[in-house]
């Protein structure tokens, strides 16, 4: 049955130019898909989108749609102009958790596509900004049908609303020489420990885990997660002096003086007359730059672990916050190490669930109560690595100073420092 296609003069202009066009893709579903339901849904979707382009306004409203047993993971969308575009009047997104690190086989992708076109619009995004596979466009009854089918073969919903969200991790150990930790393991242990908190939103607001294998932070963990895990090392970086010489022979001394030696943020590098590299590891802050420029010659050390930063988020409500170092260094090798990582996450989430205001991210709570109170609340002792510099304001009551100083020396002695 031929459908009455909406005219889309504005959207048609997004089919010109060399970059792949999402409009052409939606039109393929409208014009070529064997299922008349998909033809109709995508036709009305294009109609509504054209209407948005004409009026410069959005026409979707939220609502409440879920699957049995869960309270989140679906982004409900009901059209405000559903009378004019009835086939896409319910156009929900199903958020599905990807495998850690976003590895797929083509066979899996095909299986997902087959199920999706049975129930949904035929549009999929790999991945949304939180890290989910987003199956865009399904009506309310088929939300359950689609979920049942993919859930049977191994997929589960991600988070939506005030809950633990889908986590993200970089490609890391699977294909990167910079990796200092097993990102996949940390990612899965953390988020899968909170499956209940993913599916049943009951926290003050969202809580995100992100894992980057090194300080290059390809997953944007410091800026965009409440609980950022970054791989690092604490012994000396490894220097292959023969490879250093190769690099210098290739591009010349000046290039490496200008682009490595003088770019070190703590001036920890020095080039010797014989084209070997000296590294002052006590001064090195593991910024990664020299390793990025000379990946064949320089490598992370062997005593690897992670740095954990808490409280990163975007603008709402008090302004942008980066995560703050709460655990400067933690070994992540034995099963006990991983268990204590998960326990730390539990402690932090419990404390925040107890003390956070409604709609207050963990970082905003820390801002409100103060870092020192937060540390006390989660049972972590203060460490100068948590700060860029000590306080500048004298407005503080310090009658516990002597005790605190004694505790510091006792801890130092205990750690053999």
């Amino acid at each position: 049955m031929a459908i009455d296609k909406h005219a889309t003069p504005m959207l048609d202009q997004l089919e010109t130019g060399p970059w792949p066009s999402f409009i052409s893709g939606i039109k393929r579903l409208r014009d070529q898909h064997p299922d008349a339901r998909i033809n109709a849904v995508t036709n009305d979707l294009l109609g509504q989108l054209e209407h948005s382009y004409e009026t410069r306004k959005g026409y979707w409203k939220g609502g409440t749609v879920s699957v049995f047993g869960y309270g989140g993971g679906i982004i409900p969308r009901f059209s405000e102009v559903g009378k004019v575009f009835p086939s896409s009047k319910e156009f929900h997104t199903v958020r599905v958790q990807p495998p850690a690190g976003n590895h797929y086989t083509t066979a899996m992708l095909r299986q997902l596509a087959d199920t999706w076109e049975k129930y949904g619009s035929g549009l999929i995004t790999f991945h949304g900004q939180t890290g989910n596979i987003m199956f865009i466009g399904v009506d309310t009854p088929n939300t359950q049908n689609f979920f049942d089918e993919i859930n049977d073969y191994g997929w589960d919903l991600g988070g939506a609303g005030p809950c633990v969200r889908t986590a993200m991790s970089c490609v890391g150990s699977a294909r990167c020489e910079m990796s200092c930790t097993n990102e996949l393991k940390a990612h899965r242990l953390l988020v899968n420990n909170f499956t209940d908190d993913v599916h049943r939103p009951a926290l003050p607001y969202k809580f995100k885990f992100k894992v980057s294998g090194c300080p290059n932070d390809c997953q944007n963990a410091i800026e965009r997660s409440d609980f950022a895990v970054l791989g690092t090392w604490r012994d000396d970086m490894k220097v292959d002096q023969a490879e250093v010489k190769h690099y210098i022979a290739d591009k010349g001394r000046q290039y490496y003086i200008d682009n490595v030696i003088t770019r070190c943020p703590t001036k920890a590098l020095s080039l010797n007359d014989d084209d070997t590299l000296d590294v002052n590891n006590r001064d090195c802050v593991r910024c990664m730059h020299c390793l990025n420029v000379m990946p064949k010659a320089l490598h992370p050390g062997d005593d690897k672990g992670v740095t954990i930063l808490i409280g990163g988020k975007r603008t709402l409500k008090i302004g942008d916050l980066m995560g703050t170092v709460v655990v400067p260094f933690k070994k992540l090798e034995t099963e006990e190490d991983y268990e204590s990582l998960v326990e730390l996450a539990e402690t932090i989430i419990d404390f925040w669930a107890e003390n956070g205001l409604e709609h207050e991210r963990c970082g905003e709570m820390i801002e409100r109560i103060g870092l020192a109170n937060f540390l006390e609340g989660i049972g972590i002792e203060p460490d100068p690595n948590m700060l860029s510099h000590p306080r500048q304001s004298s407005y503080i009551r310090m009658d516990g100073w002597d005790e605190a100083a004694e505790e510091w020396f006792a801890r130092q002695a205990e750690a053999g420092r």
């Binding site: 202009q13 130019g17 066009s21 959005g58 049995f68 095909r110 359950q144 150990s173 300080p215 490598h299």
Partner: protein, 356 residues
């Protein structure tokens, strides 16, 4: 109504089963990488094993035809294993160098764009926009398609001083995130309130609590309980709109685009940085948004010509200074560039360092 079916709470799947065998074998044992050409990475393991990655840009919102086309290419020219990057590029993994060029040819032949590695302009990470969001001030995919049409050569060729991450966001919540260049909605007028609907639709105390500047208070309007906005305080952020749709913040005329630069989430050479405002009042102009793209191109041109190798946009500006940046990209400097939010003082110049 379907039968009640208990969900299987399997959570995040184990990727081990879907990883290329060479990656499984050399997990955590990679030695170095090279960049044989834009869009291609070569990783070498301590075992001597090699794996090539071919990266391609797509339209991000994939229809099942396009997804299957990507799978067909993976089956025919790669080993059937793929990986997606954080910026929605698809990466094919091959362990045989002879497969690289045919794979590139197949991708390019099918209309995908091989590139996006190292010092290129990467795929723009973006939000849902008018296609699916409930509070968007503009579109996302359309803006990105228009910009990538213009920036495609910078995606294909790695000729920038360092990598460039561009993001777009269709409201001030900025799901698109921080970027070297971020193109975000900036509302310029307070919300228009439909007082007849507020009492039935909105949980008024939570809406009051949402406001970052305490500009919203409960009020009786036309004999009905509603909310009113102190427009002298209002910063037009739109935070009240998601929990209270009758407080319409989006406006075809007054929701403008703003451009921010210098967001950098890496720790390399310096600590991570947030993006700073450089341009605002840009018309929200579908279907092609030419005014925003023109400014982005000016910024990229000045950066490409002026920055040193490895300098990201924030580092380049830090070196040359903001006065020269505004001069080079021919953008006005206004009172709106001066921060007024908490911590603003830290951004003022309290030294005699002046740029001439």
């Amino acid at each position: 109504m379907a039968e009640m079916r208990e969900p299987i709470e399997s959570g995040c799947p184990d990727p081990w089963q879907y990883m290329h065998p060479v990656m499984r074998k050399n997990f955590g044992m990679w030695k170095y990488h090279e960049h044989p050409r834009p869009g291609v990475l070569l990783h070498v393991a301590y075992s001597g094993d090699k794996i090539w990655t071919v990266k391609a840009g797509t339209q991000r919102i994939l229809d099942v035809f396009t997804l299957r086309k990507l799978c067909d290419i993976g089956d025919e020219f790669a080993d059937g294993y793929v990986h997606f990057t954080i910026r929605s590029n698809i990466e094919y993994l091959v362990s045989d160098e002879a497969k690289v060029q045919p794979l590139i040819d197949a991708l390019e032949g099918a209309g995908f764009v091989v590139g996006g590695t190292q010092n290129s302009v990467a795929m723009i990470s973006h939000t849902q926009g008018w296609l699916h969001c409930d509070i968007p001030g503009t579109d996302a995919s359309g803006v990105v398609k228009s910009m990538m049409d213009e920036l495609i050569d910078e995606f294909r060729n790695a000729t920038m001083p360092n990598r460039v991450h561009i993001t777009t966001s269709c409201c001030q919540i900025n799901c698109g995130g921080q970027g070297d260049i971020a193109i975000n909605i900036q509302h310029t007028k307070p919300p228009k309130i439909n007082h007849d609907l507020v009492a039935n639709v909105c949980e008024r105390p939570s809406v009051v609590a949402r406001c970052p500047v305490a500009a919203i208070r409960p009020a009786m309007v036309n004999g009905k309980p509603s909310l009113e906005v102190d427009e002298r305080k209002c910063i037009c952020c739109g935070a009240c709109y998601p929990p209270c749709p009758p407080m319409q913040i989006n406006d075809a005329e007054h929701s403008k685009l703003a451009i921010w630069v210098g967001g950098n989430h890496s720790n390399a050479r310096g600590k991570p940085t947030f993006q700073k405002l450089v341009a605002a009042g840009i018309p929200n102009n579908p279907p092609r948004w030419p005014e925003a793209t023109a400014i982005v191109k000016r910024i990229l041109k000045a950066y490409k010509e002026g920055a040193k190798d490895w300098e990201r946009i924030n580092e380049w500006i830090e070196r040359i200074g903001w006065p020269r940046f505004f001069e080079e990209v021919e953008l006005p400097f206004t009172k709106y560039h001066i921060d007024t939010w908490r911590g603003a003082r830290a951004s003022f110049n309290s030294s005699s360092y002046i740029r001439f």
